[in-house]
Subunit: 204 residues, 4 copies
């Protein structure tokens, strides 16, 4: 009776997802065939369909996992150093060559969100959490200019992250330190410029 443990099942599932992530980051969702994933994962074609309903399901799972992981990391970093520092850390991590495959996966997800409402929702959900958190933080931090919509400010900084990620995968010769310093200066200018109050103190 081949009933196996849930851990085994989960590990098997993750094995497929890891293989898929590798393929997707390398070739994109559409240039990756199921056979590619089968080959990369070492799991038979038939078995893949017992863990996922199809290719779209794998893509969904990959995108969901992608955003979950990012959210977790951001949250953890925020708890340690405050949101601003955590944000700048995230920006800095974009420069790390090791994250390159991850960034590529993200860009693929954006494109896939164009045509799949389901993926679009996943991506939007992945963005909404951090944005709401950032907006809440800004709202409660007095040093941020009151005349600016906290939500818009959050969107701007998320846009900066997204744009940096994009430029990084497009162009190897980016000076990430310089970029992050500029963003940091922007934060400082914004918070200091209008209200002349002290650096925001984290409350979260």
């Amino acid at each position: 009776m081949p009933k196996v443990s849930d851990d085994y099942l989960a590990a098997r599932r993750q094995q497929i997802l890891d293989a898929a992530a590798t393929c997707f980051a390398r070739d994109g969702f559409h240039r990756t065939s199921m056979q590619d994933i089968v080959r990369e994962s070492g799991i038979s074609a038939g078995l893949v369909y017992r863990y996922f309903t199809g290719k779209d399901d794998i893509i969904s799972a990959i995108v969901r996992q992608w955003h979950d992981l990012r959210a977790q990391r951001l949250e953890a970093a925020t708890d340690h150093n405050g949101l601003v520092a955590a944000y700048l850390d995230v920006l800095r991590s974009v420069g790390d060559p090791q994250t390159r495959p991850d960034l590529r996966l993200g860009v693929q997800a954006w494109a896939e969100a164009m045509r799949s409402p389901h993926i679009r929702e996943l991506v939007r959900d992945g963005v909404d959490g951090p944005r709401a958190a950032a907006a809440a933080f800004i709202r409660r931090t007095p040093s941020w200019p009151a005349d600016l919509d906290p939500d818009a400010v959050a969107r701007v900084f998320i846009a900066i992250y997204q744009g940096l990620a994009l430029q990084t995968v497009l162009d190897d010769d980016i000076d990430h330190d310089s970029f992050v310093r500029t963003v940091a200066a922007t934060v400082t200018a914004l918070t200091a410029g209008s209200s002349r109050r002290a650096e925001p103190t984290e409350s979260r």
Copy 2:
């Protein structure tokens, strides 16, 4: 219709490109079949291959045209109102529902740039022009903080544009006015904050 005028040929070519752009914006590059383009353009399958060597060639042409058009518009707007105003105008135009297909096309191009060096180069070229122009502008405008790398500043503002475009296609409920106002405030804060000088005067 033998020996037809060059204008005719160009119009025919554009007819294919327009059809392709429509399809690509709707379904993405890879979910669009040649038959889709043939149907949408009203041109026979065989004829398409007299204007383009293949699907990849059409994608290339689309991406190239996309960036050319954007560069032209930015340049024209810059000549009229100065770079900062032109940039904010571009941001504002992202909110226009009519540009939505264009933005979607742009995101597709980013994803395609992941796996095609040729497309990557096109996209990079499309970004490099504006970035260099912006960096040059910043360099020659005294109100910008001297301690910031002009190139990095340019990258940040381009990132904001890219991120806004992305968020716009992902999410219908964006308050673009608010976003642009925030970005404008950021520019003001950066230029006023450090050097206390007047708004940058355009020289271009």
Copy 3:
């Protein structure tokens, strides 16, 4: 039917080759579509590509098999009756209506060898073996005129076989017995004519 025996796989592969041989002999390599082979073999289109990388690969396999089979038969016949008798037997077999499809296949292979270096090599290899064997035999048989290059003699007799095959597929009304008798007389004339010695005795 997972993990099927090697025999099963080989049989399946041969099934495709047999169907292809039938089609190729009937319509030629280029007038035969993959669909034709699929239909004739009763195997699905996709499956064919698990056994062969493409149409060219099938052609290669057919040509290789063709020459392998012929070489085997010639060798077997040589072992039994000596090379000259075996050669005349081969000539006689050309007259058998059953070998007609095979001959047609051979002519197709010659034409294909014009444009495919790979096929050319296969065909040449298929001819080189018998030729070397024949030359060696002639060299070691004293009744053959010493002033003739054994290799050239071998080539002449192979040419006779090739030409007969060609004439046979072009023309139904060939008197093969008469042809073979003439060739036999030629062998006799050559071996008897110059050296006045007895019929060559086989040594192989």
Copy 4:
């Protein structure tokens, strides 16, 4: 009124045939597209169809011309030196690198004859003329062994020519002199061997 001379028409037609011959010898009948011929000939696609009803018609014309030319040459050579010498001359000419494209064309024609009754007839007609002439010659030349069917003898020598042509296009390293010497020796052996009479004197 664009009525032009017949010479002009014939030259134009030949221009197409020459281009086609070049393409066919290089790529084979089936790998040569009409566009290839159009390009090679410098004549527009539409016009080709005013000289030929289609591709098959061009192939027919090429094959017919091929055999006509060969027949003419053989006839001319025969008139000068007698049939045997003319035949050996023809064999020798096979070694000339310049005739290579012609030989390739011939092999293509053989393959095409497999599937087109019309081409088969043309090729057969091309062979039948020389064969009948040779048989007639043999019949009337007393030095040829009376017990051999003149028609079969003719076929054997034509086969030798065909096989040599084939081997030549398949294999660059053929010693044609040696081959021709062997064939000459074969003729001598056959004619001298049985009846001990003088060299045949030409009557034609």
